[in-house]
């Protein structure tokens, strides 16, 4: 299951760090942050609860940049 979300991130380096952080979250098969298009693509593992995973991703991203927003 692959989904794309809108993400608000201010700096390119932070986007890289968020990608790294999101890839470490349980339930995420592969995550990619596209800084230029302001999009985050997440491929979930089978049977993962998407809302829960996304909440964890947002938490991890907020650690990188406190005012980060993801629409999900």
């Amino acid at each position: 299951m692959k989904k794309t979300y809108k993400i608000e991130v201010d700096c390119a380096n932070c986007a890289n760090k968020m990608e790294e952080a999101a890839n470490k979250i349980a339930g995420v098969k592969k995550a990619a942050v596209n800084f230029m298009a302001l999009k985050m693509t997440v491929e979930f593992e089978d049977g993962a609860d998407m809302t829960e995973v996304m909440e964890n991703i947002l938490k991890a991203c907020r650690k990188v940049e406190p005012d980060c927003e993801i629409e999900f």
Partner: protein, 671 residues
């Protein structure tokens, strides 16, 4: 001297930010809310800083007599500190959160430590607070500009690709109704009025118009469309009202596919981008530890071994300067921006690149392999002559056309076209297609074999060759030779120029593959000055040939295969880069290729290579420029020549220049 420069800079900042804010009042979408708020903070804090500069320290010192000793000094500090908080509070907060979240080494942390450090030194010496605040101020201005430039180019690029239709018109009870294109089922009739975009792929059922396809192909000449023609979404109908029966859902339509492709393009990272993110990961901590070492080691050495005063303040100041310079932002931001702009500019020219990685390898293209039909030649064959026929020419043509009636191969199409009659398919049965050779079928009970010399050999029928160059279709009726049809393909008008400009764009070797006969292939190759030709290939042979070429080429050279997307998907995916041409409406080509040319002009191949080269040149310029300036400033900072103003230039200035340079990638029209 330095203070005068800073004063001038401050007044410039005050006036420009005032100007921006006034402009914003009139043009609402000039800045985002966040940017507006930041601009106000920049204005306020630079104004206060400017005022504070007018009151010098001795004026504050007079307060000592009135209040208590040291009062002036502390009041002065408080005034400056308040200003510092106005401009820098968010950075401090972010840095603190970063520490709490164990994400210590980010730019906020660097800036917070550097400015607070400079502030502490100033308190200690009752000296210059200006520096610490000015550094923070200029850093914020740089950040603002970066945010603005990125946002602006993001919007520019998206508007370049503004082909998304907002609605579809559906006629209900005689009145037009606008509906979301997503909700239109396949087979509905939609109405497109002059000036509107075709929202969904379909076939014209009523009306004629000329279509502007420039948003899709970069081609400015409109094309005529009549009843029965299929139209693809994204074109603009210019003259007439069209009624279109949709053949696809919106999500499957060309326009959605293209948008999807371009929007996701920058997710596939190029090697340069990977290099930079890996670099940034090691670079920031490395700089932080070197700064720490710079602050501690030299003074210790001075005390312990050289017996001279430690000069802690001096070395700490150098370490702080070091930190300001070190921020990797210029690199990290400018490289994806360059690729994004390059992909955006290319798509405006009708060249869709599926990822930054492809744009990067395209610039190293040395071998270009063409499939002849549909790329160098029009693929529109015309019947040139009918020879040796044992019956009337028209009769022979009709048999051939009927036998080939089920095939969509361009050669079959041209025979059917030349026949000119409506073909009654019920007369045909037992059609067998023999890949690469031809077809056999029963027409009115007669066995018709229709194909090249190999087919005749296969069937054991003697045939006579032709003195003309072209594709020869031999025909045998009931096992007896009945004559042949000569068909020739037309070379595209720009093909020769395209090969020449590819050579000048750095291609070392051009190769042509074709299933056509050697005679035809050699003639075309000679006319176009192609280096190497392989003819009479079956589709599977093409893969083999490409593999052989892949093995033969030098390791760093890239092999690109150009095909028309029909029947050559395996080759497209086997080559280093697959380029599909004339993709208007061909889904298979969009799927299989890495780079898609929306129209079928071979000149676009050279253009794509030139765009990729320009983009990569800009990327390398940025990497080189940013690294050289940074390392030079780091060195100067370490030996104590660079002060914090130079440091802030090294950070913000380089970033701004790199972003401006990256935006040049957008301008590819004249390449």
């Amino acid at each position: 001297m330095q203070e005068i420069i800073v004063d001038i800079l401050l007044s410039v900042v005050i006036f420009t930010s005032l100007g921006f804010l006034f402009y914003q009042a009139k043009h609402r979408d000039f800045m985002t809310k966040k940017q507006k708020k930041m601009m106000r903070r920049i204005l306020l804090s630079s104004f206060i800083l400017f005022e504070l500069q007018l009151i010098n320290a001795s004026l504050f010192a007079e307060l000592d007599g009135v209040l208590f000793p040291g009062a002036g000094r502390w009041l002065r500090f408080l005034c400056y500190f308040a200003d510092y908080i106005i401009i820098g509070h968010d950075i401090l907060k972010k840095a603190w959160k970063g520490i709490l979240n164990r994400q210590v080494f980010d730019e906020n942390f660097l800036m917070a430590v550097a400015t607070l450090g400079a502030m502490a030194l100033a308190i200690y010496e009752n000296g210059e607070y200006l520096e610490s605040i000015a550094v923070m101020l200029f850093y914020q201005i740089g950040e603002w500009f970066q945010g603005y430039a990125v946002g602006k180019s993001r919007r520019n690029i998206s508007s370049l690709m503004d082909i998304r239709p907002d609605y579809a018109n559906i006629e209900r009870d005689g009145a037009l109704e606008q509906v979301d294109p997503d909700e239109v089922p396949v087979g509905s009739i939609i109405v497109v009025q002059p000036g509107e975009k075709v929202p969904i792929d379909g076939i014209i059922v009523e009306g004629t118009s000329s279509l502007n396809t420039s948003a899709l192909t970069g081609e400015s000449l409109p094309r005529e469309a009549n009843v029965g023609d299929s139209v693809i979404s994204g074109c603009i109908s210019m003259t007439g009202v069209l009624k279109i029966e949709t053949t696809k859902e919106f999500g499957e339509s060309t326009v959605s596919k293209i948008l999807d492709l371009v929007e996701n393009a920058s997710s596939r990272k190029s090697k340069s981008e990977d290099f930079i993110s890996r670099f940034a990961k090691y670079y920031t901590p490395a700089v932080c530890f070197s700064a720490l070492a710079l602050a501690i080691l030299p003074p210790l050495v001075r005390i312990l071994f050289l017996n001279v005063p430690a000069m802690w303040g001096d070395w700490i100041y150098r370490a702080l300067t070091f930190l300001v310079i070190s921020c990797p932002c210029a690199l990290v931001i400018s490289i994806p921006l360059s690729f994004f702009a390059g992909i955006g500019g290319a798509s405006h020219e009708g060249i869709l690149v599926k990822g930054s990685n492809y744009l990067e390898s395209l610039s190293k293209t040395k071998y270009i392999v063409f499939d002849k039909t549909g790329t160098l030649t029009k693929g529109v064959f015309e019947v040139d002559g009918i020879h040796h026929s044992t019956m009337e020419d028209e009769k022979l043509l009709e048999y051939a056309a009927l036998a080939e009636s089920a095939s969509s191969h361009p050669i079959s199409k041209s025979i059917q076209h030349a026949c000119g009659k409506a073909l009654d398919r019920s007369r045909v049965s037992d059609i067998r297609e023999i890949s690469g050779n031809g077809v056999t079928a029963k027409v009115d009970g007669i066995t018709v074999a229709c194909g090249n010399g190999k087919l005749m050999d296969l069937l054991g029928i003697p045939y006579s060759d032709c003195h003309k160059t072209g594709t020869i279709v031999h025909i045998a009726l009931n096992g007896a030779y009945a004559g042949h049809i000569v068909i020739s393909d037309v070379i595209k008008p720009h093909a020769k120029e395209a090969i020449r400009s590819l050579k000048s764009a750095g291609a070392d070797k051009t190769v042509m593959l074709t299933g056509d006969s050697k005679k035809v292939a050699d003639q075309v190759a000679a006319e176009l000055q192609i280096d190497c030709v392989y003819s009479e290939l079956l589709p599977a042979d093409k893969v083999e040939k490409v593999e052989a070429l892949l093995g033969e080429k030098p390791a760093r050279a890239v092999l690109a295969f150009v095909g028309d997307g029909i029947n050559d998907a395996p080759v497209l995916s086997r080559a280093d880069i697959g380029i599909a041409m004339g993709a208007m409406g061909s889904d298979a080509a969009i799927e299989a290729a890495d780079i898609v040319l929306m129209d079928d002009d071979p000149l676009k191949i050279a253009k794509a290579i030139k765009i990729s080269r320009k983009c990569l040149r800009i990327v390398y310029q940025n990497i080189f420029f940013a690294l050289v300036v940074k390392f030079a400033c780091l060195l100067l900072g370490a030996v104590g020549i660079a002060n914090m103003y130079l440091a802030i230039f090294a950070d913000v200035g380089v970033m701004v220049l790199a972003v401006l340079n990256a935006i040049r990638c957008l301008f590819v029209k004249k390449l």
